[in-house]
């Protein structure tokens, strides 16, 4: 039925991007409806919620372990360059430590699960054929899937950082933040930098999510897709640590993940950050294109 006959109901969500078709005035636009349905599917899935719980628990465990290992009151070595020594002086640093440790495996795992499952999971269940005959539209469905992956990745990063900040505040002193470069900035600016780190890492996970989305369009077996994404991430990280491969390092998807530590220095090394963001953007565009080309041209036989 034509949505044009719909009249006033206040929009339940945010305003849409400009490229959306003009929906009925006042009603929930159809793209937002699909996206909400997609997000509900991701965030109400018990498995995904369990992942978020694990992501929240790890910084807490980490904080407790470091608290036990740190001599009480020791404000060890202000000029020290390591995160760990900074932690004794400021709980905010637990956020950076947690992100640094978890970006190696746990965060990519969470993103791999959701992105690898995105299309392959629907194909495996057979729900894909029902969605496509609605018709949801292949491009439209894929776009909603990718946005949901990005939102999940961002949520995962936020959960890690929030849990780490809370734990850090509870177990360590909180105050002006001494950066890796030795300068001290007020707590407010320190937290702002934490926010930027979170967004940077979320961008990195969005790029990994695009890879997962593409892999997911090639199979009906979500476990296979999830494993493939994770293996790709780990192989990239290993290759990034082999000096003989130095030539290709800047092009590896994981190479720029840890460059968020530029945000912990003054002046901020913006070129590193921009390189990183550029790399994530290029990966996202390339793999979303692959996913789109594949998904819109293949027969759905599942």
């Amino acid at each position: 039925m034509s949505t044009a006959e719909i009249t006033a109901v206040p929009p339940a969500g945010r305003a849409g991007p400009a490229d959306q078709p003009a929906g009925p005035p006042g009603a929930v636009p159809s793209w937002l409806r699909l996206l909400r349905s997609e997000l509900r599917l991701v965030f109400r899935r018990l498995r995904n919620l369990a992942l978020l719980v694990v992501l929240a628990a790890l910084p807490v465990l980490l904080g407790i372990a470091l608290r036990l290992a740190t001599p009480r009151g020791g404000r060890g070595g202000d000029a020290g360059a390591s995160f760990i020594s900074q932690l004794a002086g400021n709980g905010v640093f637990l956020a950076f430590i947690a992100i640094t440790l978890m970006i190696a495996l746990v965060l990519p795992l969470a993103v791999a699960v959701v992105s690898g499952d995105s299309v392959a999971g629907e194909a495996g269940l057979g729900t894909l054929r029902y969605l496509l005959t609605v018709p949801a539209g292949r491009t439209r469905l894929l776009a909603a899937k990718y946005v949901a992956i990005v939102v999940f990745g961002l949520s995962a990063c936020c959960v890690v950082v929030a849990a780490a900040l809370a734990t850090g505040a509870a177990l360590f002193p909180v105050g002006p933040v001494t950066l890796l470069s030795g300068n001290t900035v007020p707590l407010g600016q320190g937290l702002l930098r934490v926010l930027f780190v979170t967004l940077y890492v979320a961008a990195a996970m969005a790029a990994l999510g695009a890879i997962g989305l593409a892999v997911s369009t090639f199979t009906e077996h979500p476990i296979g897709a999830i494993a493939t994404v994770l293996v790709l991430a780990v192989v990239s990280e290993i290759a990034d640590n082999i000096p003989q491969f130095a030539v290709v390092h800047p092009y590896l998807p994981s190479h720029w993940w840890l460059f968020f530590d530029s945000l912990l220095r003054t002046p901020i090394a913006a070129s590193d950050l921009l390189h990183g963001l550029l790399s994530f953007g290029v990966y996202a565009v390339i793999f979303c294109s692959i996913a789109w080309a594949r998904f819109t041209s293949t027969d759905v036989t599942a």
């Binding site: 159809s30 005959t133 439209r140």
Partner: protein
Amino acid sequence: MSTAGTGTDADTGADAGAPERGTGPEAGTGPDGGTGPESGPGPESGPGAGPPGRPGLAITTSGLTKRFRGGQLAVDDLGLAVPRGSIYGFLGPNGSGKTTTIRMLLGLIYPTRGSVRLLGEPVPGAAARVLPRVGSLVEGPAFYPYLSGRANLARIDAADRTTDPRTAAARIDAALDRVGLLSAARKRYRAYSLGMKQRLAIATGLLRPRELIILDEPTNGLDPQGTREVRGLIREIATDGVTVLVSSHLLAEVEQICTHVGVMRTGRLVFQGTLDELRSRGSRRVVIRTTQPSEAAATLAALGLADIQPADGEVSAQLGDQSPERICRELVLAGVGVAGLATPRPNLEDLFVGLTGVGFDVDG
């Protein structure tokens, strides 16, 4: 016209000339700004590739062919013609290409050659425009096991850009009510019985008024009671003037409700027409009860009847263009005692098996 029982019928007038609904949003939602696939890779299916959709037909295919990668020819030069308002039984043994055909009708599989028109619109070219008017169940029910029946339907409805979100709850409950699942709406899909799953799948087709409903093996795996329920449901849907295409590998399951049938065999359509046309296709036989079968057989042979089969106490043969009266007279004149003479209508099931089974060559 109301199939979902909600007040949204206004724009589903049955003619194909309805203004474009739900087009457009396909393009530009992708992160890559891609264009809609529905207008993209469908090979040779653009306007003009097939015959223009005739107004009296809900589904037409022309030269529809699908060769899968690996060379398997699943559907071969298929020319379906499903009249509007009919209940079309799409028959054939498992593996004869029914599901592949249905997937091509719905734009899930791209044809290798040939074209599809649903309600006058080309598919997959105009899939976004025409599929909202088509309800379907493809290859058995498939839902999220961890969601309730109601949540599953809500998910399907949310994907439809042409429905009104504010009537969703009412339409979903109406659809559940229609298939008798309202009391189980909150139950998880995982806990549904096979019959309930099948009915939930049919309910997806009832979320909004439709002009055409395509049901792929809706009675597969159901017990006789479930089969009867589904059959009743189909009949009820069709009384609203909705065209129904229902596939099955068992003629008996659909024979009571169909007006038309199409019979598939190894990817080809070997028969298409009304049930009466199918019946009249079968050659009538004449069966003579007699105590002298061998003499009777000789007389029949003299009359030029084919396929004479003498048995104990009776003889049968193909009637051909002979009249039963003449046969009877000739038998009596030849001194054969005729205890009974009958020309039974061929059994539809036998005809169906003859069309689809092995070893019985039918020119199709």
